[in-house]
């Protein structure tokens, strides 16, 4: 019907569409569009173009933009078309401008007038078209121009207009809440609109409003619950039904609103329990839409004040989701599990294997969702396994957005739950190694701080052990190619502070490594700065210890290179290093005390130690210092700049302008160093100082312990690690794990390759082993509370001793104590047959033929759709509507709406009536499904006609465009 009427297009237009449709590649399409742009540019400016023709041009412009090219040359013609009297042309013009322009475009001003006029039109279609544009193109400034009219339209007699007016107001609220604050009560009013469409639309702004201020809408809880009840009881017109569900999209919106209103509010929640429970029971879990509503119910249940019965049914629904073969449902199941786990942590246990399956599924979406779940259920007992898994996953993804998220989650979990500092450092190392450039620099400082502070109150031996192991790991890592800059900074800093501390490595060894780093990353100034500062520390420690310092030739050349560096920061560091090399032990100890990075530094902000020097200079005839306020006219460019820079680095030390010539090493200043650095550093110009600060602020905690201390302060960062009490198993586990984690990637490869080898070994054994692995993993993830797990773990510890191949024995024995990270390796004889069966069955069922099932789903949808349509036209929709109106009236008058007995009877009757054909329909669907009745009866003729028409027009289904004709639903 529609298609025939709409084919009044010109041959030219059809040809264009045809060629675009047949384009084989993006390049070919681009050629066509570029040619089209040329044509349009010529044509569109011709005089006296018939309106119909112009409409076609406008649509061709839409095509040009849609396919990624600029059509701004034609915008004005779209704007002109909005003035047209013909509603079809006007609406096309409006559509084009909403697609072309954004709300800040200059041309908007030309449209506002038209909109104003159209909002007053007698033709409600014109008003609707204008309201559509209002929703897209009215910005904060132009709101007042249309606001009065929009408000007036809220009471328009046509429901379509009221609905769009509500949305226009919603849009104003989104753009500029203050402009419509006084009108918000209108949304409440429209909630009781006689028309379900208006009511449904009003839920959108109300949802936003409730999100912002829940308490202001608590009084509506009863109304929302009653509306939901009426919707669920099929009191809305049949046309809102979708696949036998009564107005599911409205139900979902209502459930979302209830979830907000009931959150943390027992009284409000109690008003919802019945209806949410009812909906859950009624939901048809064989259809997608039924499951969508079910899922929304679970979300609601997990948000409102907990109710044991509802929680139970939510758990059942989740179980169904997770057991389903559909990945979509599994995905929802995992998500729902993550929501419910806060309320009933034990629920995860029964789904252990399902969760592990999802975790190991090749589908990245599912995997990611499962990691989200794991993230939510991390605690100190399973943090090692989870973070380990997360890092493995992180290593293999390329998408930086995703990678950043996972990396920051790893860091967060590690900081929060780390069982030991050593584990924390190893974990951080892996994160840095693979995603160093993506994590927040703060994380690097946290890590350095941890290494510097150690256990805090604990004895020093543990601290130095920690540091030694850090140094050792860094020396191993540092030779690897292409490390991220942030990580290298940490490495350099740690090597500088603690490289020689335990006497295991000689100064020349460490300095050699540092020079290698600086050479390998010679383009990275920050790393070079860290490296030379580390050198400085090591040399001064050597001097302080009274040892003779021999500077390696490569170090010497590195220093020389930096002495001539373009970066004044690097230059200064090099000069300082050179100066230190010439000092005696006593001075060196003062400048660079060992292990002093955590000590407080007193900062003499008034710089009183310079008083003598200043006095001396003044006596010699120098100008006294004039504060900035007194010399406004004298500000020169450089001081101006430095001022700016100070503002930027306001979170760090604040130096006022014109303190510039004063010492550059602000902290821990001993007078000796002061003078020496002043003498040594050439060109102490203002701009120089400014630059120093720039660098210091962008490269925090680089050289001197002073600025390091300042940067590492990390106000507000909780001390999350430390020494909490852990379960007795944890420490031993982590000890056993260290070597494994240390060389992260290769080791892991080994694991996977060994397991894959095992897999190819024997298909039967494979099943066994995989499930054993999974169970082990499950046990480590979900803790040892479940019965089955206990059985497994006892089995795993006993069995290996008797059963395993000799080759693997030693390995198992080594790991026997730790039942967390090393689990995958442990081979196991067939454990729980029941569990095994389950996983085996589910996996095989999964692989059966998903296409078939999908097809079935589609067919079902399709059949039901035709059913719905016929139902809708047949049944007495108006009756139900009037009924709806009646009840909403009740809502208005009675406050808390309860359904009148009469109304209920009617409703029952109606729903009974409506229900029977539906149920029949449903039964039919399931039965007739295999018959694959694809063609929708009345449409077959139509489609033939359409086909013929298209052929007439010159578009034939050739090899080039077979798909263009494919029935989308077929």
């Amino acid at each position: 019907m529609g298609s025939q009427g709409g084919f009044g297009q010109s041959k030219e237009f059809l040809d264009l569409i045809k060629s675009i449709g047949e384009a084989r590649s993006k390049a070919e399409e681009d050629r066509i569009v570029l040619h089209e742009i040329e044509t349009l540019k010529r044509r569109i400016t011709e005089p006296d173009i018939p309106k119909r023709k112009m409409k076609e041009y406008i649509i061709r412009l839409v095509y040009v933009e849609m396919l990624g090219h600029d059509a701004s040359f034609g915008y004005i013609h779209a704007v002109k078309m909005t003035h047209d009297d013909n509603i079809h042309l006007k609406r096309t013009g409006y559509l084009a401008v909403t697609l072309f322009l954004n709300e800040d475009h200059d041309l908007i001003i030309l449209i506002v007038n038209t909109i104003q006029k159209d909002l007053k039109s007698d033709n409600y279609l014109v008003v609707c078209a204008a309201l559509n544009v209002v929703c897209k193109l009215i910005n904060e400034e132009t709101i007042p121009a249309v606001l009065p009219q929009v408000v007036e339209l809220l009471g328009h007699q046509k429901e379509a207009v009221r609905k769009k007016a509500v949305m226009a107001l919603h849009r104003f609220y989104q753009r500029a809440p203050s402009s419509v604050n006084h009108l918000i009560s209108n949304f409440r009013k429209r909630l009781c609109d006689n028309d379900p469409g208006v009511m449904g639309a009003t839920l959108c702004p109300l949802y936003d409003l409730i999100t912002i201020d829940v308490n202001a809408y608590k009084d509506l809880v009863a109304s929302f619950a009653s509306i939901l009840k009426q919707v669920a009881e099929r009191r809305l017109p049949k046309s809102y039904d979708y696949h036998q569900m009564p107005a599911p999209f409205i139900q979902i919106k209502l459930l979302k609103i209830l979830a907000l209103l009931g959150s943390g509010d027992k009284k409000a929640s109690e008003q919802m329990y019945t209806i949410v429970g009812d909906i859950m029971r009624k939901c048809d879990s064989t259809s997608n839409i039924g499951n969508a509503v079910l899922y929304e119910c679970i979300c609601c249940i997990s948000s409102i004040h907990p109710n044991p019965k509802l929680l139970e049914s939510a758990a059942d629904a989740i179980a169904k989701f997770l057991k389903s073969d559909s990945h979509n449902l599994k995905y929802l199941g995992i998500d729902a599990l993550g929501r419910l786990i806060k309320l009933s942590p034990e629920i995860a246990e029964q789904h252990q294997l399902a969760v592990i399956d999802c975790l190991e599924d090749p589908d990245d979406t599912l995997k990611r969702k499962t990691f989200e779940l794991l993230y939510k259920m991390t605690k100190s007992s399973n943090v090692e396994v989870i973070v380990d898994r997360m890092i493995d996953y992180m290593i293999n993804i390329n998408d930086s957005h995703n990678k950043t998220e996972i990396a920051s989650r790893c860091v967060e979990l590690a900081e929060q739950f780390a069982p030991s500092n050593q584990w924390f450092i190893q974990t951080m190392n892996r994160v840095f190694e693979h995603a160093g450039d993506l994590v927040n620099p703060k994380v690097a400082h946290n890590l350095m701080r941890l290494i510097a502070e150690g256990f805090g109150e604990e004895d020093d031996t543990a601290d130095s052990q920690l540091r030694s192991s850090a140094v050792e790991s860094y020396l191993r890592i540092v030779v690897e190619p292409k490390l991220p800059s942030t990580f290298l900074q940490v490495i350099c800093w740690v090597l500088g502070e603690y490289g020689t501390a335990d006497g295991k490595y000689s100064a020349s060894y460490i300095t050699g490594k540092l020079c290698d780093v600086a050479e390998a990353y010679s383009t990275d100034d920050t790393v070079k700065a860290y490296a030379i500062s580390a050198l400085m520390k090591i040399y001064s420690f050597e001097i302080a210890a009274g040892r003779k310092v021999d500077v390696l030739p490569e170090c010497q050349s590195f220093i020389e290179e930096l002495l001539a560096s373009h970066s004044t920061d690097l230059q200064q560091r090099a000069y300082e290093l050179q100066a230190i090399l010439g000092l005696d032990a006593n001075v060196a100890t003062n400048i660079m005390p060992m292990d002093a990075s955590c000590e407080d530094i007193e900062i003499d902000r008034s710089l009183s130690f310079l008083n003598g020097y200043v006095q001396q200079s003044i006596e010699k005839g120098a100008q006294p210092y004039i504060p900035e306020s007194e010399r406004s006219g004298m500000t020169d460019v450089s001081s101006f700049r430095s001022q700016e820079l100070h503002e930027v680095s306001s979170h760090a030390l604040r130096f006022e302008a014109y303190e510039l010539p004063k010492p550059v090493m602000p902290s821990r200043v001993s007078p000796i160093e002061q003078s020496s650095s002043n003498e040594l550093v050439p060109a102490p110009e203002p701009s120089y100082h400014a630059e120093m600060h720039q660098v210091a602020s962008s490269v925090p905690s680089v050289s001197d312990p002073g600025s390091l201390e300042l940067k590492l302060k990390l106000d507000g960062v909780q001390r999350k690690w430390g020494r909490p009490t852990y379960s007795s198993a944890a420490p031993s586990t982590s000890n056993a794990d260290i070597p494994k984690i240390q060389n992260g990637a290769p080791q892991l490869d080994a694991v996977s390759s060994s397991s894959s080898k095992a897999v190819s070994y024997d298909s039967r054994r494979q099943q066994v082993e995989i499930s054993a692995e999974k169970q082990k993993l499950a046990a480590s993830l979900f803790g040892g509370t479940s019965k089955s797990h206990k059985r497994q773990s006892s089995g795993s510890q006993k069995v290996p001793k008797t059963n395993i191949p000799a080759a693997e024995k030693s390995h198992v024995a080594k790991n026997a104590t730790s039942d967390t990270a090393v689990l995958e390796r442990t081979p196991q004889p067939p454990p729980d047959l029941l569990d095994l069966d389950e996983s085996a069955v589910s996996s095989s069922a999964q692989s059966v033929d998903p296409f078939k099932q999908l097809e079935g789903l589609l067919d079902l949808n399709q059949d039901t759709s035709t059913l719905t349509t016929s139902d809708a036209s047949a049944s007495g929709a108006p009756d139900v509507m009037s009924l709806y109106g009646e009840t909403t009236l009740n809502v208005q008058s009675g406050g808390v709406p309860n359904l009148l007995p009469a109304g209920r009877d009617e409703a029952n009757l109606l729903s009974g009536l409506a229900g029977t054909p539906n149920r029949n329909g449903h039964g039919e669907n399931t039965v007739t499904n295999p018959t694959q009745q694809l063609n929708k009866g009345p449409n077959a003729k139509e489609s033939l006609e359409k086909d013929a028409l298209v052929r007439q027009l010159g578009v034939t289904p050739t090899g080039q465009n077979p798909n263009l004709f494919r029935d989308l639903l077929g």
Partner: protein, 143 residues
């Protein structure tokens, strides 16, 4: 905000309809569409119909050669959006009769009009097929 954009893209990655509910420049749109289509095409049929991309969650569904992709934010019910796509296709099917890619191409503005009735400000506002198609049929009569 809910829905951020609705796209119809064919297997070759050619856009057949694009409606954004937040402003993106042409270049941004082009890049986004390319990335998303590549991502979705790489997936098998039994995998989830949801993909995370940048800060969007993409819900997609394939009909014959045409992909319907809806970008949503985190608060949306993915499965409901998946069914919303189907509702859209059903609605177009009712209007065009056995809707195919070519119908959408020839009647781009009408497909847009339907979307305008169904989605405003990124929210689903109308799901009754007769309410969606009513104004469009009147429009046809008028012209």
């Amino acid at each position: 905000m809910g829905i951020r954009f609705i796209l119809m893209v064919n297997k070759q990655g050619q856009t057949r309809l694009a409606q954004y509910y937040e402003y993106l420049t042409i270049e941004e749109r082009r890049a986004l569409e390319g990335e998303i289509v590549r991502k979705c095409l790489a997936r098998t049929e039994q995998q989830c119909s949801f993909v995370e991309h940048r800060n969007y969650k993409i819900v997609y569904r394939r009909y014959a050669s045409l992909f319907f992709l809806v970008g949503v934010d985190n608060e949306e019910n993915e499965l409901a959006i998946l069914e919303f796509i189907h509702l859209l296709v059903e609605t177009m099917d009712r209007h065009f009769g056995n809707v195919c890619e070519l119908d959408i191409m020839f009647h781009l503005e009408k497909a847009h009009f339907m979307l305008e009735e169904m989605v405003m400000n990124g929210c689903i506002v109308e799901t009754s097929k007769s309410n969606i198609l009513g104004p469009i049929q009147l429009l046809e009569k008028a012209s």
